[in-house]
């Protein structure tokens, strides 16, 4: 999502790329750009869903949105294609050190990922524990298993360590999640 960049008297400015290289979102964006340029995969972040209620037309070619509201997304933020397979995931950060609170994910996003799995796609979460500087890929299969077996409101770090896969920090791509998918779904085939 967008980052808040300071405040005027009345408004706050938003700049999506302001923290590039510092946030998980920016790292994934850079990785997806890398995958696209190098013809490895075609994976995009979906735009933030907005309901527009007022638009101003100062000229024929221009439209300025004068009032709008953020909507809850129906799906995850990222999807695309890798080695012919449909890929779908969401990415979340937490500052906690011992667990990832499930209220970070909308129930319909989990339902969506479960649906993708059922239809033969590859679904997962990328979760970064920012203080620990650890980034995990958790397959939807493992997330569903946790939700089936537990009533806890957060997933402990130990569950990620046992059922998830560390995505190692790299220079380029910064968050090389496709290398984990290679190992899990493509017989470790080289990227």
């Amino acid at each position: 999502m967008t980052k808040i960049m300071g405040a005027k008297t009345k408004f706050k400015n938003i700049n999506t790329y302001a923290n590039r290289g510092m946030t998980l979102e920016a790292d994934i964006q850079a990785s997806n750009d890398y995958y696209l340029v190098n013809d490895k995969a075609v994976i995009y972040k979906k735009p933030t869903p907005i309901t527009i209620s007022k638009v101003n037309y100062p000229s024929r070619r221009e439209a300025i949105i004068k009032e709008g509201f953020f909507r809850t997304p129906s799906t995850t933020d990222y999807n695309g294609i890798y080695k012919g397979k449909y890929i779908d995931f969401d990415a979340k950060e937490t500052k906690l050190k011992t667990a990832f609170p499930l209220n970070n994910i909308h129930p319909h996003q989990i339902k969506h990922l479960a649906c993708i799995y059922k239809h033969g796609g590859i679904g997962f979460l990328i979760v970064r524990f920012t203080v620990l500087n650890k980034t995990f890929l958790l397959p939807i299969e493992s997330l569903m298993k946790f939700l089936d077996e537990s009533t806890r409101k957060s997933i402990p770090l130990s569950y990620f360590e046992e059922n998830g896969y560390i995505i190692k920090d790299k220079y380029n791509p910064r968050v090389d999640y496709l290398s984990v998918l290679d190992m899990l779904y493509f017989d470790g085939g080289n990227l």
Copy 2:
């Protein structure tokens, strides 16, 4: 995209679902809903990409966008999964009777579809000639062939008739484009 619904003194209101059942977009939305509810496919329209420049926060939980601009989309409007395959397409209407002008599609959207094809996905256009009440599915392969062989700035209706596939009007789903994909890519398997 959004429909303009009349004007106040200064602003115009926009209501995305105002013409539901009348436009190709609404018909595709209803069809995608049908596919999802009946567990046939998981295909969504991407939100319209917007750059937000000012946001107002009247309360902690609320955010009102006070200034924003429409961005040119990087990709097509629709993607998802069907029978395990990645699906990607755009939908366009024309009022013309004899040809579909190519300036209806951004060059990077064609490039994107070609890229999807290369990576093993299924890409196409759905084009409706509204006056003729004819809706065609044109596979990306046929679109690329046209662009390779012709310098024309529009695709003649005859090209759609020869290289595209009519999507018959139905009650539900209204635009049953998956039945065309069944015939083309899934050995005519029943939906």
